[in-house]
């Protein structure tokens, strides 16, 4: 047998399960005003001052021996808004982190990354490129591009030039596809394994197949794609979604893309019942992560900052001066799947792989709790499972006919449970 069969899967995150995620919300401003963006309070006013960043870093590094910071590795994450709008601040922060880790003989000096999720608009600019060159071996950068120009520009639009009196920004009609796609070749040259995040809302469903294939054609080999957790779905969306995913499955299999390209919609490990005792882990990492905003407030995840919440108050767990109030973390660190799930989820025959976002759960909950799971994606998950089953049945049959199935089974890698 000469061909070595490979089915590309989405990569695990760096040091998955062993790294502490620490996020700087460096700005709440962005060049874009994407229509599906969950950040309802984006504004031009809240930019992180250097002193806040420095005090926060000192707090974290001073507590090296605390259980919250004992993890082997660290991912320093920068988000916005658009993080690269604050590239000078970020550069200063990263330099300070590197120097302090080294000066203090901190165990994270041997295992850290700086991670960015950017809209890609100013990726080519000198300040960003200088930063990339300087930190090349410790960077993870993902550019968000949503698919075809039509699909991308439906949601990812520029903001209006003038903010309102509260500094809040509003969408314009101008799409951002052309401004982003021009930077994809440079990004892929620097990060050949780079993946992109695609978000699907109700209106995007008809464009899923063409969008994923378009991203593959741009040279992006890993497409991480998710439906939004919010309750935006219309009657019949699940059936349209299933149809799109089956079309995508045909295209990936018939076109042989499965060997070199991955799409997170398809996974062998979803759509199975889950044991209430053995498979009881929480999906989301909120509480194990730590976020800081421009005011120096600390959050269990950025989704608990006020600009991410529609109906609830921010869940602040402390601040850079007083530190973390550990009582406020206890609900997050005791969360399990079954306690927060309604009975229909516990009994669900296709439960595995059905995701949730703790922030959205909190925002949508009837009371002030993180223990009420939002289930707006229920029908969408079930549709995904049906299409996923179709994908694997079709792919296995193809491999069998090509006499490659056994080889694939023997060599496939073990997949760790996905968490947010």
């Amino acid at each position: 047998m000469s061909t070595l069969i490979n089915i590309k899967e989405n990569q695990d995150a760096w040091q998955s399960g062993m790294a502490k995620n620490i996020t700087f919300i460096v700005t709440k401003d962005c060049q874009l005003a994407c229509k599906y963006c969950y950040l309802v309070g984006k504004n031009v006013k809240e930019r992180m001052p250097w002193e806040v960043a420095k005090t926060f870093i000192d707090y974290v590094l001073d507590h090296e021996n605390d259980s919250e910071f004992a993890m082997e590795s660290v991912i320093w994450e920068f988000i916005g808004g658009e993080p690269f709008l604050e590239i000078e601040l970020i550069d200063k922060i990263c330099d300070y982190i590197k120097m302090e880790l080294f000066r203090r003989n901190h165990h994270w000096f041997n295992s850290y990354r700086f991670s960015f999720s950017t809209n890609g608009i100013n990726y080519h600019e000198k300040a960003v490129q200088d930063f990339i060159k300087k930190n090349r071996d410790h960077l993870s950068i993902g550019i968000t591009i949503d698919g075809t120009e039509k699909k991308h520009d439906m949601n990812r639009v520029w903001k209006q030039p003038v903010a309102d009196d509260n500094g809040l920004t509003k969408p314009s009609e101008r799409g951002s596809y052309k401004d982003v796609v021009k930077n994809i070749p440079l990004w892929l040259e620097q990060f050949p394994g780079g993946g992109t995040k695609v978000t699907i809302s109700s209106a995007d469903i008809p464009y899923i197949t063409e969008s994923v294939l378009h991203l593959y054609s741009l040279g992006i080999h890993e497409v991480n794609i998710n439906v939004v957790f919010e309750d935006v779905w219309q009657d019949g969306d699940d059936l349209k979604f299933e149809e799109q995913l089956m079309q995508l499955a045909d295209a990936i299999i018939d076109g042989g893309y499965y060997q070199d390209y991955a799409c997170s919609f398809f996974s062998e490990h979803i759509g199975k019942p889950q044991d209430p005792v053995l498979d009881n882990q929480n999906w989301c990492g909120a509480g194990k992560m730590l976020s800081v905003d421009a005011a120096g407030n600390l959050y269990p995840c950025t989704r608990f900052a006020q600009y991410s919440l529609r109906d609830k108050e921010a869940w602040i767990i402390g601040n850079i001066h007083d530190g973390i109030d550990k009582n406020k973390l206890r609900p997050f660190l005791t969360l399990d799947r079954t306690t927060q799930s309604p009975q229909k989820c516990i009994e669900c025959e296709v439960a595995s792989g059905c995701a949730w976002c703790q922030g959205e759960n909190y925002d949508a909950a009837h009371t002030h709790t993180v223990f009420q799971r939002a289930t707006a994606i229920c029908l969408m998950h079930k549709a995904r499972v049906r299409a996923n089953n179709y994908y694997w049945n079709k792919l296995y049959r193809k491999l069998e006919l090509e006499d490659l199935r056994e080889q694939y089974e023997a060599n496939k890698r073990e997949v760790k449970p996905e968490i947010c």
Binding site: A314, W315, L333, T369, F371
Partner: protein, 330 residues
């Protein structure tokens, strides 16, 4: 399952648990509301517990109050005189300071941690009164790990006093130390599960503390972006509507459902205040309850040296004070 209906007869009805009553202006429950509340209790087979203020109620209330079997919770020295009905063994007297005279069979003694330390000898004297003593610490949230040893020593000292009484053939009842010795499962406050509170405004609350918070316009202790100070869970017109009621139950409390500090109050009001989630206890609540549990274990072992005592009860040795530290992680 609901079993008890707590009726606050007045805004100034005595506080009998962790939360102080900050309401100083009298506001009596309208008599029609009281009648409807009693009717609600009768229809739902609920035992009614009246909570009295420190002033006498108008005469017309007396016959209404006594129209149903009840338990009375009243401030020390203000025993309600109704002239009707039978005095219940379960009536509760509430004191915010130590008194040598205990009129009721049940005394709730509400003290801060430091007052409790100061008054430890006087408290020990109450053990022999024949009354059940419920000591309620009113500033639990201030408890720090530096006070663990202090609390441990205090309970050890009280264990000595209790043991002497057992040696004399008495059976003192003191919630912090003797309850756990006779429990084989959780016996907690169960606000919103086995009991519900009817306030003078005709609305239901999980417990009186939530009514106080609402009246004082206490937000949610977050950052006050929006007022969320309506804490009611139904009223006499619409009846009960407790959102996420499952989260008040033991099986939906990941830390508590595997815990054996059975005497713990599991105060959901304190949970809400300190951890922001009703089903998650604070470090303070867990640590204090475990110090009590361990001291109960010591007392039980000492009593058993004198002979058989509650042979079916097991309190095993453990090496943690906060179950959070040994929680199952996935």
């Amino acid at each position: 399952m609901l079993q008890y209906l707590v009726i606050l007869l007045d805004d100034t009805s005595v506080a009998y648990c962790h939360a102080d009553n900050p309401l100083k202006e009298r506001c009596l429950m309208p008599i029609e509301t009281l009648k409807k509340g009693i009717l609600f209790g009768m229809k739902h087979n609920l035992m009614i517990q009246y909570v009295f203020p420190d002033h006498a109620l108008p005469d017309e209330y007396v016959s209404v109050i006594e129209s149903i079997d009840n338990v009375k919770i009243y401030p020390m020295g203000c025993k309600p005189v109704t002239g009707i009905g039978v005095e219940s063994e379960a009536d509760v007297e509430v004191a915010n300071s130590i008194s040598n005279k205990v009129a009721a069979k049940n005394l709730v003694l509400r003290l801060t941690f430091s007052e409790m330390l100061k008054q430890k000898d006087n408290i020990a004297k109450l053990f022999a009164s024949g009354a059940r003593i419920n000591l309620c610490i009113t500033d639990m949230e201030q408890f720090t790990d530096e006070q663990i040893e202090v609390y441990r020593n205090l309970l050890e000292e009280w264990n000595g006093a209790l043991l002497n009484l057992y040696k004399q053939g008495q059976s003192p009842q003191f919630n912090l130390l003797t309850d756990r010795m006779v429990l084989d499962k959780m016996h907690n406050c169960e606000a919103g599960v086995s009991n519900i509170t009817l306030a003078p405004n005709g609305k239901f609350y999980l417990c009186p503390a939530f009514y106080y918070d609402e009246q004082m316009k206490v937000d949610n202790q977050l950052n006050h972006h929006q007022p969320t100070s309506d804490y009611s869970v139904g009223d006499l017109e619409k009846f009960l509507d407790i959102p996420n009621q499952q989260l008040l139950k033991l099986d939906h409390a990941p830390l508590c459902r595997v815990c054996d500090a059975y005497q713990c109050r599991r105060c959901i009001w304190l949970n809400r205040k300190l951890t922001w989630d009703h089903n998650t206890p604070s470090h303070q609540q867990c640590v204090m309850a475990h110090i009590e549990r361990n001291a109960s274990r010591d007392l039980l072992n000492e009593i058993r040296k004198m002979g058989d005592f509650m042979p079916e009860i097991q309190i095993k040795e453990i090496h943690y004070l906060d179950p959070f530290d040994v929680r199952k992680e996935f």
